[in-house]
Every structure is written in structure tokens, then in C-alpha cells.
């Protein structure tokens, strides 16, 4: 399907029309903390002047905390995410790219995660190309781009007075077809502007020399580098919780009387308890081992298992690390 155009003044009615087609429509709106992803109503004012959401998109499919089963004296029963169609607007290309990675982890031939899979199946992702990447962005160095469509269903370009939309997946194509009354053909001028914006954004993104990282890491197994990088780490886990590709989790049981719930929560490889066994043995007992694990998992093990580096260059870990550990510097050191 060729590109279509939507005038900005019709955005609200497009959202209103989407609200009739899906149980839930999510999109970027302003609140006290900045721009957040929230449930939209026909009256919502969408905000597109933001670099990225503070929280990664993984939480829409793999929530920080979710009940996976309920138990009582008669046994355990699986919980299932709601049977609802969801549309998410305004997802940045780095975040949609992370979904393509998480798909490889959570959905495979042998075992699939039914919770993630159901939410993925039920959700249509409309991504928004970046016009003004942040200072901490480095997606182009790591296989992404401010205009990358991987993991997305529909790609949107914000041209100021109008938007250009393109379907990426079959699901996206059906969605655009269903709403075709809202759209018109884009003018040649619009298409030209889109191209100019794409090129300008690509140029704006910061650069790191990252492509050799998987190969370099094979030589850095027991390097003193890990002591150096881990030295200032507080083991708070902020980098992993805010990382769109980190997917480690734990189960814990909440007992209420004779029954209760088994809850899945995000967990982090930066915590000593993550691998500590009942016997007291801990295969990753030192902070340097855990730092190495995090970097190795992203840039070496993922490359080996999935032929991808599990980093999308969103820069969240850089912005939010309380001791200013910068993954771009880590990548540079690894490749030095």
C-alpha cells in the first residue's frame, strides 16, 4: 500500500475513529512528569514534541508486574491478558526495534510466552519517526535508525501540518485500509519534506563505533576492564529496568488465605540475588561479573543466539544511571 497523508487538524478524528475499532488506544500525552504513554479518549491532546518516553515500550507487552496464575486448594490456573484490541500511537523506532528482539526471546518454536504473545497479537503499533533525536541517542550506530520500521505495523512521519503514514505489516495495511476515509494522497511536496526530515534526523544521531563489539567481546572475557566499568556501579538496576530489550524476570507468590497468585516481575542481572542459590553458591557473586554479564548478554550472547545486538541505542541507561555510566563509553572501551 502506498503512503497516505493525514492533515494534522484531522488527527483527533482519526484517533476517535480508532477508538471505535479497538478496546484501548494508547498514545503520547503530557503530564507532570513529561510525555507519557497513556490511554487516549476522543478529547486527548496528543503530544509529539518529545524525544522518547521515559519508560520503554516493553512494559506494554511484558508489564513490570503481572499475575500469571492463581492458585487455591484445587490447583493452579493460568491468567490470561484481556481479550482486547489495542492500538499504540507514537512509539519511537528504537522501541519498535526492541519489540522485534523481544519477539525472538518470548516467541519460539519450543516454548512461547503466552502472556507476551497474546498482547503482541492483540496490539497494533503505530510508530513515529524521530525528527529531533536526543543527545544521548545512538541508534544508527547499532543497526537502528530514526526512521527504522522494524517491529512496527504502521510508520508515521510528522511533517508539522500533516502526517504521512505507511503500512509496515499486513496488520498495519488492514488498519490503514479500514481508516482510508481519513486519509488523502500525499502531495509530492510532502513526500519530499519527509525525505529531507529523514536524512536530517539520521545525521543528527550521535555516533559510536559499535559494529565490532561482538567480536571484540570474545577477547574481553576476563579483562580488567570489567573491574573498571563496574567500579562506580551502584547495582541499582535502573539501566536494566529502563532498557527496552532487557527481559529478565522472576516469579513470586502472594499468598492470601488458602489461595493466592503467582506474580511475574521484572528482575535484573545487576543484583547479586539474581543468581544466588539456596546453598549460598553464586556463579556471578562479584559486581564485575554482573557488569560483564549485562554487556556480554547484549552484545555477545544475543549476537550468538539471535544474530542481533540487544541494544537499540535509545540512551535511557545513559540518561538514568545515577553514577553516569555511559554505555557508549563502555562500547568504545571494549573495542579499543
Amino acid at each position: 500500500m502506498p503512503s497516505v497523508a493525514l492533515d494534522s487538524k484531522n488527527l483527533k478524528s482519526f484517533v476517535a475513529s480508532t477508538l471505535k475499532q479497538a478496546e484501548r488506544v494508547r498514545g503520547p500525552v503530557k503530564d507532570k512528569t513529561g510525555t507519557v504513554l497513556a490511554d487516549l479518549s476522543a478529547k486527548s491532546e496528543l503530544a509529539f514534541d518529545f524525544a522518547n518516553f521515559k519508560l520503554p515500550i516493553k512494559r506494554e507487552f511484558f508489564p513490570q508486574c503481572e499475575v500469571i496464575s492463581r492458585f487455591d486448594a484445587t490447583g493452579s490456573r493460568a491468567e490470561s491478558p484481556a481479550d482486547e484490541a489495542v492500538v499504540i500511537f507514537g512509539v519511537r523506532p528504537c522501541d519498535t526495534l526492541s519489540l522485534s528482539f523481544l519477539d525472538k526471546v518470548f516467541v519460539d518454536e519450543q516454548y512461547s510466552d503466552p502472556y507476551y504473545q497474546k498482547r503482541r497479537d492483540n496490539t497494533l503499533v503505530v510508530s513515529m519517526a524521530c525528527n529531533s533525536p536526543a543527545a544521548t541517542c545512538f541508534c544508527t550506530s547499532i543497526g537502528g535508525s530514526p526512521n527504522s520500521t522494524k517491529g512496527s505495523d504502521v510508520m508515521m512521519f510528522n511533517l508539522g501540518n500533516s502526517f504521512v503514514l505507511e503500512s509496515v505489516s499486513k496488520k498495519g495495511e488492514a488498519f490503514l485500509k479500514k481508516n482510508q476515509k481519513m486519509f488523502r494522497d500525499p502531495t509530492p511536496k510532502e513526500l519530499q519534506k519527509r525525505k529531507q526530515q529523514e536524512e536530517a534526523a539520521e545525521k543528527q544521531v550521535g555516533k559510536v563505533n559499535a559494529s565490532a563489539t561482538p567480536a571484540s567481546l570474545l577477547k574481553k572475557n576476563d579483562s580488567a576492564l570489567w573491574d573498571e566499568i563496574a567500579e562506580t556501579c551502584l547495582s541499582c538496576g535502573a539501566c536494566t529496568f529502563l532498557c527496552p530489550t532487557c527481559h529478565c524476570f522472576d516469579f513470586y507468590d502472594e499468598k492470601q488465605g488458602d489461595g493466592g497468585t503467582r506474580v511475574r516481575v521484572h528482575d535484573a542481572c545487576m543484583f547479586a540475588t539474581f543468581t544466588r542459590e539456596a546453598s549460598g553458591h553464586n556463579p556471578r557473586g562479584l559486581k564485575r561479573d554482573r557488569m560483564r554479564q549485562r554487556i556480554m548478554h547484549k552484545f555477545s550472547y544475543a549476537a550468538e543466539n539471535f544474530n542481533e545486538m540487544f541494544c537499540v541505542g535509545c540512551g535511557r541507561c545513559i540518561v538514568n544511571c545515577p553514577s553516569n555510566i555511559d554505555i557508549r563509553e563502555t562500547i568504545t572501551k571494549v573495542n579499543a
Binding site: S76, Q110, Y111, Q117, N221, F251, Y252, G260, D267, Q293
Partner: protein
């Protein structure tokens, strides 16, 4: 993406029998029967696999399956109680008739099918003997034993009271179609058997490595000192199979904690050839 079964929800199993295994009273073998016949039919394990034992309200632990795939109608696990282990403690406090959950079977297995026609050496130490016991029970079954050549078992524990499956050990020692050598680090007044550490006894009995594969499970310290004599006997790192243990949550390669390098012990293991373990060690993992 199609609908799939939920790998996180346990089947219900009832404790049929609890056997206290050792003098320290911290090792018990639990025999479970499935509450639902459908779950039983779906549970087809191979020697070397593990399962998650799931106690609602407490948690889950990965434990190697100690019964043979041919032991029908039940499945057994030998569990060590750790005072700091929530699930092992809760399980040890349970008794016959109690119901828990079981998820599995999980992981890979000893490649017994491809070892047909070979000599098999099984070396075990301490309470890491559980999946080896499953393997021995299987290999000694009618119709299976004759598919393999010589089977030699070397099993050691700290003291006579810490040996697992004492009655079975005695029965195996009486059989003429296997060689069973049991040793303890330190004997007691009643012990008439062999005394000596597993690696030392291994050198003494010196089983032939010709057309043979060794399956070895034990505490890390035993493994460390058992590998050199095995290689001196002529076993190549590819012909030594061992099993790893790690803390696990999901058991299906997603939760991210049981990896050694790029391999998940739950999904790519727990069984690895020693050549792979050496590779992990060489990389400092």
C-alpha cells in the same frame, strides 16, 4: 503467532512416598503421582532432564528427575534441604498425601540413544547422583541392558550414611551384568566397603576408555579432580558428559538467570560435554 500451551503453569502431583536418604536427615526422595491422568500421559522424560517443583505460595525449584522414564505411574526427585532454601524446606516439611505442582520435563538429556553399543562409565559423587540413578535404572531395564556393552558405576559419598539409594546400590553390586563400585571418603565402624575419594578410586579401577563414554555428576570440587584422571584414561572431552545446575525461574530459556555464556542451562543444558565446560572455563565464565 499461534496459541501455545502455557509453560509456566504446573501440573498437580501428590506425594506418594517420602524416603529419608541420609544420616544428616537433609536428603529425602519424594515419589509423586500425577493427580490428572492427562498430565501423566504428557510427562515423558528422558534421563538427565529436570523439572520445576512448585509449591504454591512458596515458589519453585529446578530438580533433576531421579526415576527412570520406564518407571511408570510415578516420578521421583531427591531433594536436599537448605535452611536458607524456602522451597526445599517447605517440601521437606510435607508428607505423603500432600499436593504440590510440577512443571516439566525440562532441558536436554544424556544422549543414551546415540550411546547404544558402547561401554558406559558412570561416575557420581554425593547427592548429585540423582539423574545418574535415573540413567542406571533405565540402562538396567529389561530390553535395554543388552543394547549397551560394559556398564561400570563408580559412586562416592562423604560417609556411608550419606550414600543415596542404599538398597539399590546393594542390589546393583550383586548383579553380574554391571560393575558397581561404591566408595566413601571416610568409613565408620560398620563400613566394609572401599574408602577413598572418587578421583583416587577412579585411577585404581582404571576403566578402559575404548569405545566408552563417561557420564559424570558431582560437586564442583569432585568434578575438578575427576576430569584429569578421566582424560589420562583416554576419555576425550567430547566423550565425558556432565550436568550443570543454576538458579532458575522459568526453566524455558527466557528469564535470563541460568546462562553460562550464551548457553542457558535450562534449555541448552543441563547436560553438556566436558569440551563445552572447558570452553566456558577457558573464557572465565
Amino acid at each position: 503467532m499461534s496459541a501455545t500451551i502455557n509453560p509456566y503453569v504446573p501440573a498437580r502431583v501428590q506425594i506418594e512416598k517420602v524416603t529419608l536418604e541420609n544420616d544428616e536427615k537433609d536428603l529425602k526422595t519424594f515419589r509423586f503421582a500425577f493427580c490428572d491422568k492427562q498430565d501423566e500421559a504428557k510427562f515423558n522424560h528422558e534421563c538427565g532432564q529436570f523439572a520445576m517443583l512448585s509449591i504454591a505460595g512458596v515458589g519453585e525449584i529446578p530438580i533433576g528427575i531421579a526415576s527412570s522414564p520406564l518407571d511408570k505411574g510415578y516420578v521421583e526427585f531427591t531433594v536436599k534441604r537448605y535452611p536458607t532454601g524456602l522451597v526445599t524446606s517447605a517440601l521437606h516439611d510435607m508428607s505423603e498425601g500432600d499436593i504440590i505442582g510440577l512443571r516439566g520435563p525440562l532441558g536436554n538429556s544424556f544422549p543414551l540413544e546415540s550411546l547404544k553399543g558402547k561401554n558406559i562409565l558412570i561416575v557420581g559423587g554425593g547427592f548429585a547422583f540423582t539423574t545418574l540413578r535415573a540413567t542406571i535404572r533405565y540402562l538396567l531395564s529389561d530390553g535395554i541392558r543388552n543394547q549397551y556393552k560394559n556398564i561400570t558405576i563408580l559412586y562416592g559419598a562423604r560417609s556411608p550414611g550419606e550414600l543415596l539409594y542404599k538398597a539399590e546400590l546393594e542390589a546393583w553390586q550383586k548383579r553380574s551384568d554391571i560393575t558397581t563400585i561404591v566408595t566413601v571418603d571416610k568409613g565408620d565402624y560398620a563400613w566394609k566397603g572401599r574408602v577413598g575419594l572418587v578421583p583416587v578410586v577412579l585411577k585404581e579401577i582404571a576403566p578402559s576408555a575404548a569405545d566408552a563414554v563417561c557420564i559424570v555428576c558431582g560437586p564442583p570440587i569432585m568434578l575438578k579432580f575427576t576430569m584429569p584422571p578421566l582424560m589420562e584414561l583416554g576419555f576425550s572431552p567430547n566423550n565425558i558428559l556432565t550436568s550443570l545446575e543454576r538458579k532458575m525461574t522459568c526453566g524455558v530459556g527466557k528469564c535470563g538467570r541460568c546462562n553460562v555464556g550464551s548457553k542457558y542451562v535450562c534449555k541448552d543444558g543441563p547436560v553438556f560435554p566436558y569440551s563445552k565446560i572447558k570452553e566456558f572455563e577457558d573464557r572465565g565464565l
